[in-house]
Subunit: 239 residues, 2 copies
DNA sequence: CGCCTCATTGATCGTTGTCAAGCCGGGTGG
DNA sequence: CCACCCGGCTTGACAACGATCAATGAGGCG
């Protein structure tokens, strides 16, 4: 279950690889600053814990520091649809901007560390600080582009290449600093979640993974992945 | 081909049904105002005309006043993927926020009237005008939510219901003021574009349309659509 | 009138979903 | 320490749906 930490910007930020793009790396008001209350709390979640649910009031944004968070809905027919994954450096909840409520569930898919922010105060602060304002606009643009491009891949690539693309993206988002060689890592979500995100069944995912393994493009062992041939993989799945 | 009009906010705005949500309906700087140059030009396009192309510099946003604009990419394999339609009141180009270039093509799908804006000046103006700032945030949130929900439908509904959902959305976005009875209108794009957006072939679209016609849920005649049973249609495709 | 594009319809093939069974690994308790 | 159990993952067989290929039909426009 979720546990509380003392409210503060995590000390670990200094050695975080996503610092450059992260809200916590910006010139931010903190408890001692001129906008006390923007940063609210650091929280810890286990896989399966809920950050917020659909149709609850929208007051906070969440910065992921460690782990991963999925955003999902349940359709009228009862199907679970995962619309995205938030990895370290990402912000959860942006889609509720200008609305009073969240319109999806946010659920941790791995043990995660997260910092909660007050939206209203963040936006207020933007009026005073052009740098922060520009950063927010930049992040929103980034998110819009990601959603748009994801859509393109979802529609334009055959299933196996879409899967490959997913793991390439995952790797690039989790290790933006990594050298070209270090092409492996830990999966911060279950295969079931990936299948729900790619809109395929776990069976189809499994079958395609064996295909990709045979082609020596993607190796999955338990919760670890490896990309033995990144160059070729990128070539296949680029826009 | 595209033709120029004298630069000004269109006079027709006063009788536009989307005025409440439209940028042009906001308290906007104009040529006589304190931020001359934000509104650049009113433009006219025919179906097939290009507003901007992928990888060209991002300087302007476009407000659609009449007609429709599709946003699309061509994959490495040569497939055309339509990622969205912009209808009257919508803004084209938001996805490039925080980037130097557009990352998709924007193409008119019908005879359209469009107003071009300077992005930099618009964002500058936001710093001074909290109302406008709030409006921009609201529109961005709206766009994010739409993309997210569209994704949910794309993944969670069977093909025929997805098609029905598309026409329901289209109708609600084109005639937000319309009474429940007036459940018909003109298609501002070709079926081919719709198929590309829904990620199906024109053949599959056609087949499903006959199914929906038999079920008395959706009637298509040439470029006109009608929804004889909106209630039931909404029931089927709601979240 | 005839061309040209787009839309429809039909037949066939391939991929994915579905259902069912077996497998593997982690965790629990003896 | 080992046996068991359980959830998630994998694999197989079959059915269903959409893509593909091909042919026909319907408007729009010169």
């Amino acid at each position: 279950m979720m546990t509380f930490q003392k409210p503060s910007i995590p000390a670990d930020c200094v050695r975080c690889s996503r610092r450059a793009d992260c809200l916590l790396g910006q010139h931010l008001p903190d408890e001692q600053g001129d906008c006390a209350g923007v940063v609210q709390r650091q929280l810890r979640y286990d896989a399966g814990d809920v950050l917020f649910r659909r149709a609850t009031t929208f007051r906070s944004l969440f910065v992921v520091c460690e782990g991963a968070v999925k955003t999902q809905r349940v359709t009228a027919a009862g199907d679970l649809v995962v619309t995205g994954f938030c990895l370290p450096g990402d912000i959860v909840g942006f889609e509720a901007l200008g609305s009073a409520e969240h319109d999806y569930d946010a659920v941790a898919t791995a043990a995660s560390r997260v910092v909660r922010f007050d939206v209203a105060r963040l936006l207020e602060t933007c009026s005073d600080k052009p740098t922060l304002y520009g950063w927010v606009i930049g992040r929103i643009g980034h998110l819009l582009r990601r959603k748009d491009v994801d859509q393109t891949w979802a529609k334009g690539l055959p299933t196996d290449e879409r899967i490959l693309r997913f793991f390439l993206d995952l790797h690039e988002r989790m290790r933006p600093d990594a050298a070209e060689r270090s092409i492996e890592g830990e999966l911060p979500m279950r295969k079931q979640d990936i299948a729900h995100y790619l809109n395929i069944t776990p069976e189809t995912l499994s079958r395609n993974l064996t295909v990709l393994r045979r082609k020596q493009l993607l190796l999955i062992k338990r919760s670890r992945y490896a990309l033995p041939n990144v160059e070729q993989a990128r070539l296949i799945t680029q826009l």
